[in-house]
Symmetry: C2
Subunit: 437 residues, 2 copies
């Protein structure tokens, strides 16, 4: 991998800019032949920059446009992007000692991510027999599969064991604080923390893995993977009727999410606003990940009534208890004949919903990791991912309510946790974290 050293000379412009070239010009520049590379037009706040992507090498795959999400833009992809089928998360620890090395890593990562999200190899292939191949190769012949790579930085990037490691301590945003301990937490160090968090999503697990692995490879000498976890949801192809996916407790999961197409809601719930600061986080978002083990053996022995009362929703339809439609408004005041709330006050949705004013955007995946050596039970559950503008006002109070009273706690254990400040998007010629480093 080469580092583009002329990045620094470019004007720092991180806000949304219009594409400077017509689609036709871009297509011409890309030069991959008619049936090949196409530029998908969708995506929130997106901007084309395929010109920045290196010339396609001989092993580049003809890419159906529908399978490509743009990389550059006001926001990073993978946040308000509709959920892909597969997920691979990795937390990295920085081993480099200098801020310039971290900066260089983000330059290289940006370059690689801009390429592989477009279905290109991580660098131009060479046929030099005496060098390792530039790209690890397992994605040759595969489409971009809506690959998105979302980068965030953790609290320990700024201060670790009290030390200002990279002279960045003063730049740490107040919302990026270590999460408080929650009652019921059973966190294990091996699933916690990280200087950098990378969320990879794609409609193919091999494409997702390829991304994580090549990022790790590029980071060699600068950062190492601290922990990682793959996840999935039912594939769109298997869904007889597309709609809300079910988690491994058999319930529809995601119903109550705010609408990612509602810009006002996203500005309210997800995106850090210019007024909030720090400037380098404007149009970024805070990502919280929690590796939540499900005690599925216990769950599978609980009655239907228990299960529905636990969530406050009907198992088959996903409707709020007492209702019939999955998407009808959650009315926590509805009572049965005896005056008892139809949706139990200690149910998961009642507590998570609260007064309905504080919301988060969830983007979780199921995971399975074989058998837990300690318990002999399946190590499986929900890899909870959420985005919010300020965890101190959104995720934290919500999780405090849940940790204390949620009926669901009987069937789950939080074993992993991390929080990251996801950078704003980069524009072509720039790189992620440019304003920070």
């Amino acid at each position: 991998m080469e580092t583009k050293n002329d990045f620094q000379k470019e004007p720092q412009n991180n806000s949304q800019t219009e594409p400077k070239l017509s689609r036709r010009q871009l297509l011409k520049m890309a030069g991959v032949g008619g049936a090949g590379l196409l530029l998908g037009g969708a995506g929130v706040g997106s901007l084309f920059a395929t010109g920045a992507v290196g010339a396609a090498s001989s092993t580049a795959t003809a890419q159906p446009a529908a399978d490509i999400l743009p990389f550059y833009g006001k926001y990073q992809q993978g946040i308000v992007t509709p959920q892909q089928d597969f997920f691979h998360f990795a937390a990295f620890d920085i081993i480099a000692k200098k801020r310039s090395d971290v900066r260089a890593l983000f330059e290289k990562w940006t370059d690689a991510a801009a390429r592989i999200t477009q279905g290109q190899p991580v660098g131009d292939e060479s046929n030099n027999q005496h060098l390792p191949p530039t790209d690890t190769g397992e994605a040759i012949g595969l489409t971009a599969s809506k690959l998105t790579i979302t980068f965030g930085v953790g609290p320990t990037l700024f201060t670790k064991d009290g030390a200002d490691r990279f002279g960045l301590a003063s730049k740490r945003p107040a919302p990026l604080a270590d999460l408080p301990a929650f009652s019921a937490d059973e966190l294990q160090a091996e699933w916690c923390g990280g200087d950098i968090g990378v969320q990879v999503c794609a409609n193919d697990p091999q494409v997702a893995f390829h991304a994580i692995r090549n990022l790790a490879r590029i980071a060699r000498g600068s950062a190492v993977i601290r922990w990682s976890q793959a996840g999935f949801q039912r594939t769109e192809r298997a869904a007889a009727k597309p709609g809300t996916a079910r988690n491994l407790m058999g319930f529809k999961d995601g119903t109550g999410n705010p609408d990612v197409n509602d810009d006002a809601a996203m500005n309210d719930v997800v995106w850090v606003q210019p007024s909030e600061g720090p400037a380098w986080m404007t149009n970024g978002s805070y990502m919280i990940v929690r590796r939540i083990r499900m005690r599925i053996e216990e769950w599978d022995r609980s009655t239907l009534q228990d299960q529905e009362a636990t969530f406050g929703r009907a198992r088959i339809s996903g409707a709020p208890l007492g209702g019939t439609d999955e998407f009808e408004k959650l009315d926590l005041d509805k009572k049965d004949a005896s005056g008892k709330p139809l949706i139990p006050v200690d149910s998961h949705v009642a507590l998570a919903h609260g007064d309905g004013k504080v919301r988060i955007l969830r983007r979780s995946y199921s995971y399975t990791n074989g058998i837990d050596a300690k318990t002999g039970q399946l190590d499986t559950g929900l890899f909870f991912v959420c985005f919010n503008r300020d965890p101190r006002k959104q995720f934290v109070p919500m999780q405090q309510r849940l940790a204390k009273n949620d009926r669901l706690n009987e069937y789950i254990v939080h074993v992993g946790s991390a929080v990251f400040a996801c950078l704003p998007g980069a524009s072509a010629g720039g790189f992620l974290g440019q304003e920070l480093f």
Copy 2:
């Protein structure tokens, strides 16, 4: 789950029988309405028996025919079946004490497998609020996704610690012996053995997990999961051009496999023949699984030349070294100008191929399991699966050659291992292992 107690009364007929009902009659019996359940016609040696599947419950999903593989038949599915995208393997240990309990377990498992492979829930749904749901629910709304479930029994079912546990010791087939230790093995007990091995494959990972989990649930009190591993290959949807999938070393994997549509080859390589015995294994096959960790960090540092010499094939095309086409015949006698073999004698394909007379059918998947706590490296590799008629004559001598001289050994470690006798198929009304128990 109810056990069909009248199974015992039925004539034991495990050989292939013709369907007794016309497709139309079957469709009528299934009674799921026109657009719903359809009976896929493909499948090697398959036989329809949808009449045996319980009436579809309200939560049953309309099933596109192309997504369903028949369950009953001469052979079990999942052996010569073209590889699906996802894989979930589980090894079970029996905790029941009586042979009749093991027999009952296989009856229940057969019944459940016959249902879920057709996209039906594991048992008819009830709306009884005071009982746990019959099915765990995460596959509601998903198609059958070409789900196959393949059952095998391990050596320890017959004798464990010298004891004849279930009065079956005399029934153990000679080919079902513990594998010998191979040089270079670094086996870990947590990834080895099992009284029963279950291979689940499907085009959706949630459908595959659902199968394993419900089998474990049905087994409660009789058997527990000893270890398990999920796997994947690039999804067919992501493959720009369908063809041989690449493993995580970036090479096409599966090229040299015998043709699953060639019955003579399958009889030669895979299926236990009537002449061989024991009778209960006729039309069965021996499955070997090896969890093989790849040292991908080292691999990724090796040169293109090294990588191609390691496999004896070209990285991009998959052709034998010196050739141009992936599927051209492997000619180990070809020499370069200096008289050196074009395909190195210690390359993986040269050693695996040998004189070409002894073959196996490989059906492996990639796996990723986060970070290895001991080494800090990615725990990822190949979950090797193969089928053969007699491991003593096929897999074992092949692996002995590889373990001793394979160049690939520099980059891999065998950490898990197990061998199972996969039962012949069951016919409708019968159950898997009927002749054994």
